[in-house]
């Protein structure tokens, strides 16, 4: 008998509370989530439901108050700052709502940024950058600065930057939130193709049902708890 496959991302009994003055805001409460390898998960919920906080915990940008966050073999919640930075560089690709490209760098220099933390030489880095830009169909715009690119193109550069190190998990925070429908569709198709054709595990936070429809699974977060159905 084959053992059941282990999830790639395993969130167990995670709670997170923020303080605002004397007030305590319980953002996540005893949260449980498992994401399998090569899964495309859409995380939906109203504003303030804790979607971004959860994404930050998975991406090692923040730590839970209680519970564990395990990605592959790594207990992310137990790593110190230095280990966490190195772990992010190796395992996580971030795609942000507002692209977050460095405006003074060209598209290819932006994509190269995560590779600066690797031991690759200049030629190898260039090879990886070209491959990543080709994957998002932006080879011809590699020398362009972000301000000369459309929103959709900027987001594609953002995706190229996220995938250039071939990370374990791609975390997307409202990747189509700042785009029109057409550009958004292109980005979603790109993410879908990365998931289906390259087996990339993607966790995407979104408000947009149209975007979440592209995912292989949708979970809803409300008042700090997850469910498979949207709350009323």
């Amino acid at each position: 008998m084959n053992p059941s496959p282990q999830p790639l991302v395993s969130i167990r009994h995670v709670s997170k509370t923020f303080r605002r003055g004397a007030e305590e805001i319980h953002v996540l409460t005893e949260l449980e989530l498992a994401v399998m390898d090569a899964e495309f998960l859409a995380l939906m919920g109203p504003s303030g439901s804790g979607k971004s906080t959860l994404l930050n915990l998975i991406g090692g940008l923040d730590r839970p108050d209680t519970g564990s966050v395990q990605i592959g073999d790594d207990r992310v919640d137990q790593l110190n700052d230095r280990q966490l930075a190195a772990w992010r560089a190796r395992h996580i690709g971030f795609v942000f709502q507002f692209y977050n490209l460095l405006p003074a760098l060209t598209a290819e220099r932006n994509v190269e940024l995560p590779l600066l933390l690797t031991g690759l030489n200049k030629a190898e880095r260039r090879q990886h950058v070209q491959a990543a830009l080709a994957a998002v169909s932006l080879s011809n715009r590699s020398k362009h600065f972000p301000r000369t690119l459309s929103g959709g193109e900027q987001q594609r550069v953002g995706i190229a930057r996220a995938i250039v190190t071939d990370p374990t998990v791609l975390l997307c925070d409202e990747p189509t939130g700042d785009l029109d429908r057409k550009a958004g569709d292109e980005i979603l198709s790109l993410l879908q193709s990365l998931n289906k054709e390259h087996g990339k595990t993607i966790i995407m936070v979104t408000h947009d049902p149209h975007a979440s429809a592209r995912a292989s699974r949708i979970v809803y977060l409300d008042k700090g708890r997850l469910s498979d159905q949207p709350s009323d």
Partner: protein, 385 residues
């Protein structure tokens, strides 16, 4: 090296602001270079002073003269190896603005006392053979395009003119150089015997004596002996090391070193505030970008170093640029040879300036870099987004 584009991107993000910051630091260090040359000029006399030389002058002031006969009495004081005298002539060449120091001396004693003045054997011989002969330093010779064989007329408001003549005339018989950089080669020396014979007043009086002592560690003791020798006479003396004498001379126009340091200090404090504010502003504006770098895996120390490097790059490039331009301008020549006999920017000042630029960069970038390092990623992304 691979982080260079990132560094460069930070600098060119706000080109005008970077340029203005660069310019302010550039100008500050150019000023530092000029002040360094000025300080060197004013302290050269002290620095170049012989450790084994004392100056004997009138106790009241340098203006008062001393009997030339003191020379023989000084020479026999135990511990004195040699002695010679000089007298302020204050000769004017054509126009008072053409100032350069000129003094009557006894050639053999004088040249033996000051080996830093390098004169050819032929020049020395010609000087000994010519009563109206004078030697002049390279700086002044170049300044007035004098050459050996030229006859130089000087008017002296102190000593008048020789009987039957309207001015003093000297024949240039030699041009001396300095043995090392910083040696004052702006002076003209002529023969005391000619001077004493031709002058109409205070015959037999001289300005001051320079004394070489056998053991520099006995300077205080020998100085006291010399002053004791002439105590209770109409011409009491004050003996001090040559360095202290030069220092006193320079301090006639104030404590230049202190003034220079105060100006430099004020300028640097202002520049530090400007550069620090610029860096802090730059980091504040890039909160989101720094958050992204951290999210991508740049560690806190790396972000700290990046911000510090950026700050240091502006400071060092602008600082060295300013020092370089100051050096170039100073190298083109002395703008006020009448006031400053020596004018150059010493390598030590250049090195000190470069080090100061690096310190300025570190100091200006320290707080912003610390803030950047401590940025919480999620907050930075939220603020920057």
């Amino acid at each position: 090296m691979k982080f260079l584009p990132l560094l460069w991107a930070g600098l060119k993000r706000k080109k005008l602001r970077t340029a203005l910051t660069f310019l302010s630091i550039f100008v500050a260090f150019m000023l530092f270079g000029f002040l360094g040359a000025l300080k060197e000029a004013l302290s050269a006399g002290v620095r170049m002073a012989g450790q084994d030389r004392l100056i004997v002058r009138h106790k009241v002031s340098l203006i008062q003269t001393l009997p030339e006969s003191y020379l023989a009495r000084i020479q026999v004081i135990p511990g004195v190896a040699a002695a010679c005298h000089q007298t302020w002539f204050s000769g004017i060449y054509q126009d008072p603005k053409n100032f350069f120091p000129n003094m009557p001396v006894i050639p053999e004693e004088f040249l033996a006392m000051f080996p830093e003045f390098v004169l050819s054997d032929a020049g020395k011989q010609a000087w000994l053979n010519t009563r109206t002969g004078a030697i002049v330093g390279r700086t002044t010779a170049n300044r007035f395009h004098w050459k050996i064989g030229d006859r130089i007329p000087l008017r002296s408001p102190i000593w008048g003119q020789p009987a039957g003549q309207t001015q003093w005339e000297f024949d240039i018989v030699g041009i001396y150089d300095g043995a090392k950089k910083g040696t004052d080669t702006s002076q003209l020396f002529f023969r005391y015997d000619f001077f004493d014979e031709a002058r109409n007043l205070e015959k037999g009086q001289v300005g001051w004596f320079t004394v070489r002592i056998a053991h520099p560690d006995q300077a205080a003791e020998i100085a006291a002996k010399i002053d004791a020798e002439f105590a209770n006479s109409p011409y009491e003396t004050k003996t001090e090391p040559e360095g202290a004498f030069a220092q006193g001379f320079a301090q006639q126009i104030g404590d230049i070193a202190t003034i220079v340091m105060a100006v430099v200090g004020a300028v640097f404090f202002t520049i530090l505030l400007v550069a620090g504010n610029t860096m802090a502003q730059s980091v504040r504006e890039r909160t989101g970008e720094l958050g992204v770098l951290k999210a991508l895996g740049f560690s806190n120390p790396m972000v700290l170093v990046l911000v510090l490097l950026e700050s240091c790059a502006i400071a060092v490039l602008a600082g060295c640029g300013g020092l370089g331009v100051a050096w170039l301008i100073v190298s083109t020549g002395n703008p006020v040879p009448t006031l400053l006999p020596v004018f150059y920017l010493p390598p030590a000042s250049l090195l000190a300036g470069a080090a100061l630029a690096a310190v300025l960069g570190l100091a200006a970038g320290a707080l912003p870099a610390w803030q950047a390092m401590r940025l919480h990623i999620a907050d930075a992304l939220r603020r920057g987004g």
